[in-house]
Amino acid sequence: MSKGMRHFPHRHLLGIEGLSAEEITQLLDLGESFLEIGERPIKKVPTLRGRTVINLFLEASTRTRTSFEIAAKRLSADAVNVSGSGSSTSKGETLLDTARNLAAMRPDVVVIRHHASGAAEFVSRHIDAAVVNAGDGTHEHPTQALLDASTIRHHKGTIGGLEIAIVGDIEHSRVARSNLYALTRLGANVRLCAPFTMMPRGIESMAGEHRSRVSTHHRLESALDGADVVMMLRIQRERMGDGPGRFPTNREYSRRFGLSPRTLEHARPDAIVMHPGPINRGVEMDPSVADSGRSVVLEQVTRGVALRMAVLYLLGAAGPIPSDSSDAP
């Protein structure tokens, strides 16, 4: 059965930065196949039966953690949640010791969310399991970008050539970074939009050879002008730390950068509205827009489970990746 057999040549999923356009597409295609399982009466396949998936969520999250837990359970894996409060880290245990202790329990996959950029890669160097980055500091959130790309592709047919606006606190957003890699690699033009205080200088260069596909905007209207996709990011006060705020009030932010029916008119009439969640209603997005037919936010959540199943399926096998490509019997 040589047709359709392939290697995914990565032991971990730490970010989109290390993935080629072909590998990203492979993941998106695979995600499509897992959508059907969520429609069945019995939402389970035996694929990862007996494998252990540990969700090490040392930063607050309900939806991403639940999404990974459901994904693992639908693959018949044993999913275990370790969260921040009440875990040993609140007793002062280092990340290294936490990782080593978990490794000693022989998990097959560790899904990690942590407030420090680079935490996922750090853990991957000290543990034998496959590691999936569920968000590390302001660095990357690869499964979010995959489910976003999957949703866009479903509505628009293709990603290449699209005009995609990403609006919000770009500086502190790992969602923006992972999406920047994924969408430019797949051929889209990305417009990043934020107040000056929340836009890193030179961020276009992150797209590398595709940097000409990236533009930065400090006015919402210009970023949305003719856009096919409008992706709004959550204003993350918890990530801004103490000290002078990045903008005077929520109200001023929402007036200048919030998505309302009026500002949405600058985008194409068939533009879709996206948000990684949870939405600050009335801040970055008007409730009427969040609840409108243009919003695909709930579909993002559904695709999130399917994409995470695809990732766990690809990474969840114990054992080495062989150097030759041979057929299965």
Binding site: M1, E32, S33, I42, T47, L314, P322, P329
Partner: protein
């Protein structure tokens, strides 16, 4: 229902394989006719029949049989089942199989499902297909139709309907090539290095 066939001596080689055609398009067609006839004989009065092709080799064959059934008796629904997630060899360190979709456009309770595959070999694919099918519901009965039975079973699985039985050695590969153009259908045996 078909007999043991000696492989014929038409050969084509590439640098890795010898490949010889053991069933040409005409024989594939007559085997499918015979399969259809056998299914009709057993299920003459049944309105509960459905064909489910095992991806990917069985699906085209399921459609071919369905066309013949439709001409002979009545239309029979065709579904497709993907077994990638049910394989028993996912952790052998081999490449991850492509996962296709499973589409069963009919309810399973009360149905007699005829699973259709191209080649019956170790039986592991059929075992996986049974598990996958039953995860979608409880059919009244499941039967198995295959174009080629090549022996070498590793599980206690047998076909109810067989187009042709081939005497093969374990390291040979049997490939059923059916596509959009039935005049190009053929079954070949390849020897040499597995690739």
């Amino acid at each position: 229902m078909g007999g043991v066939t000696r492989p014929r001596a038409m050969t084509a080689s590439d640098d890795q394989h010898d490949e010889r055609v053991v069933l040409d398009a005409a024989r594939v067609a007559s085997s499918l006719d015979a399969l259809t006839e056998a299914i009709v004989t057993r299920h003459r009065e049944s309105t509960a029949l459905a064909l489910v092709g095992i991806r990917t080799g069985g699906l085209t064959l399921a459609h071919r049989i369905a066309e013949r059934l439709s001409a002979k008796t009545r239309a029979v629904p065709v579904g497709a089942i993907d077994i990638a997630l049910y394989r028993d060899d996912l952790f052998e360190g081999l490449p991850r199989p492509q996962v296709g979709s499973t589409e069963l456009p009919f309810a399973l309770p009360g149905r007699v499902v005829v699973l259709v595959d191209d080649v019956l070999f170790t039986g592991r694919t059929v075992r996986a297909a049974l598990d996958a099918l039953i995860d979608h519901g409880r059919p009244r009965a499941v039967e198995l139709a295959v174009l080629v039975d090549r022996g070498h079973r590793e599980l206690p699985i047998q076909a109810d309907f067989v187009g042709v039985s081939l005497d093969t050695s374990r390291d040979e590969q049997v490939k059923v090539r059916v596509g959009a153009d039935p005049s190009q259908d053929r079954v070949v045996i390849r020897t040499g290095r597995r690739s």
